[in-house]
Symmetry: C2
Subunit: 377 residues, 2 copies
């Protein structure tokens, strides 16, 4: 097969995003066993770091051995019994995925829907919750398919008043923008490692509130998914250290190192940096005469920008030019937004003035190429 | 948190096992997106390499984004409907895990049992299959908890005659000893990356026979586990490239590099090397007056040796001395074999005369320390 020579990309897409050399180095450090005391030390550092980026004191905070979608599956499979009434607030692709998982696990599923790119107001959430009386509510904090940021309290407040537990998909927000799980009243949150945490994909950060942990411990039915059974995972990672599966040790090393880098920068400083770069990004986009897809600036995800594709421009051609001539990856729109938006991640090591200069130089040129070829047609 | 400084262990346990520098290096190569053409090229190389170590032409051969246990969960969840009659041949811990997963997915579960360390003869398998008439049969090719190797044909022949499909757990055999999936008549096999393939944990090699693929395509019920739904994974990895989840790219790089190293050595040459080192291992164990747990030499796993703990020796003390004074990890027995066996992996870069010398020097010394302290009591 010869040697492995990956191209060097600048990852301005929704993820995986750019990774710092120290994280790559961590992955290449010597393997230890899954019951080695050193592994449990790394695991404790991972747990502590995750508590800080999640903004939680939840004891049940861990990294699940799979990608962000495995985190979503863990949230659904550990808390949905057949017949559990689950209300999903849906304004994008990932909310629909939660709904689909709920359906497969036998939930009595109801959905509240809004157009892709919008969020639910507290009044809208309250109305749906009072009407449906769900036991479990799910929403997407950072909808990767639309670039919208759902304020958690608008969902959790009416949900808790109605006695429901709340799942939040934080796949794209964790590490780049505040979640503040405890203040927000989120009961179960899951995420991934390859977006705001600037690590390779392969683990799903996960946190469970004491109230949800109680519900979990009282659950009579065994999780149909043995691999993602939180009760068994608690026995493995807890003081019992009872073997469950072989943790992906190198991915834990990488996540530990990525979290260490975040703590060195300072969690709040990192959030501020992403917010600042987001404001600069929007300013430069608007100066080009382009429009952001999410209209309310307060409801935009700071680290994943969705930009409307200008009239008459072929978005595929722009992405192709960016990739072929600048080694820059950005994301396409999909579902109802296919061809209508670019999804541009500005995260981690690329969320700097230099990162923005690099991006805009290439983006302006690629748009000009696409515009010129549109004019020729 | 400071820098990450893992201890350097010699991994003579059941896995994770020793990793070659080139595999570590592969993991630290630049990340690309999950839809990048380079990723799909790597994925094709992984698929081709896996076909060779599995010994199969199965088109549906892939790496699942989770550890070996996720592979087991994929096998069960994609082929067990509620009420499916599943017969598990159980003579160890991992067979019991398949049974437990089957139970959770609603199988009509029956088990054939033998003591830990034995395997089923063709007559025994036939008798159970004719009695139970299962739709699905599962067995463990390489039982990590006992060191026994179940000849696949003894199970698949009577199973196929009765019209059942056969799942084989190949977690500990893949890459170190022949499986020959096609000749053996195995319909679904799953494995891991951190044992015979000498890679870090995090992916589950998986292969499905054309007959089982047909059964899968005809399945009416959606897999309750969205994350492990093979139909969706086929759309992602196939020509459609329809987004499912974000593949753990660095783990794919590592697996690709581990497979490249195996193909360079030659798959059959690698199997022969493990068989030779196993014979040397047994000769040296017996020369020490110790006994192998699996009595029939033909039914021993060549890469995971189970050795009886000598009378009066505290196995924990031996393992503690090996780790503390020699940085050597070996595995303990568990379940009915707790305290009764050592599980000693001789795989990959350590399956060499030098690896054996290193191991036996430390093992003899650690046993002597434990023996002396037993004599003092």
């Amino acid at each position: 097969m010869g040697s492995l020579h990956p191209p060097r990309r600048f990852l301005f897409g929704p993820g995986p995003t750019q990774i710092e050399p120290r994280v790559y180095e961590a992955m290449s450090k010597p393997m230890v066993g899954y019951l080695d005391p050193f592994f449990f030390q790394v695991n404790e550092e991972v747990r502590t770091g995750l508590q800080q980026v999640f903004g939680t004191k939840n004891d049940l905070t861990l990294a699940i051995s799979g990608t962000g979608s495995a985190g979503m599956e863990a949230a659904v499979s550990n808390f949905v019994d057949p017949g559990t009434k689950l209300l999903v607030f849906s304004a994008g692709y990932f909310a629909e995925r939660i709904a689909e998982m709920g359906r497969r696990h036998g939930a009595n599923l109801v959905r509240a829907e809004k157009p892709w790119g919008e969020v639910f107001t507290e009044a809208e959430a309250r109305e749906a919750i009072e009407r449906e009386k769900p036991q479990l509510v799910a929403f997407v904090h950072a909808e990767t398919s639309t670039g919208a940021l759902q304020p958690p309290r608008w969902i959790t407040k009416p949900a808790h008043e109605a006695g429901a537990l709340v799942i939040a998909d934080c796949v794209t927000s964790l590490g780049a923008t505040p979640i503040r799980v405890d203040e927000s009243g989120i009961d179960m949150a899951f995420s991934c490692t390859q977006k705001g945490l600037s690590c390779p994909p392969g683990l799903a950060p996960f946190t469970v509130s004491p109230r949800a942990e109680e519900r979990l411990r009282a659950r009579k039915m065994a999780n149909p998914v043995w691999y993602l059974d939180l009760k068994l995972l608690m026995e493995y990672y807890g003081s019992m250290r009872r073997y469950h599966h072989t943790a992906p040790v190198s991915n834990f090393y990488a996540l530990r190192e990525g979290l260490a880098a975040i703590l060195e920068e300072g969690v709040e400083q990192r959030f501020d940096r992403h917010a600042r770069m987001h404001r600069d990004f929007v300013r430069r986009i608007e100066a080009m005469g382009l429009k952001m897809h999410v209209t309310d600036p307060a409801l935009r995800l700071p680290n994943l920008n969705t930009v409307r594709v200008p009239e008459g421009v072929d978005d595929q051609q722009v992405r192709r030019t960016l990739m072929a001539e600048h080694d820059i990856e950005i994301g396409a729109g999909f579902g109802p937004l296919a061809g209508k938006i670019f999804r541009i991640g500005v995260m981690g090591p690329l969320a700097t003035p230099q990162g923005l200069d690099l991006f805009f130089g290439a983006f302006e040129r690629s748009l000009a190429v696409a515009g010129a070829s549109a004019a020729r047609m």
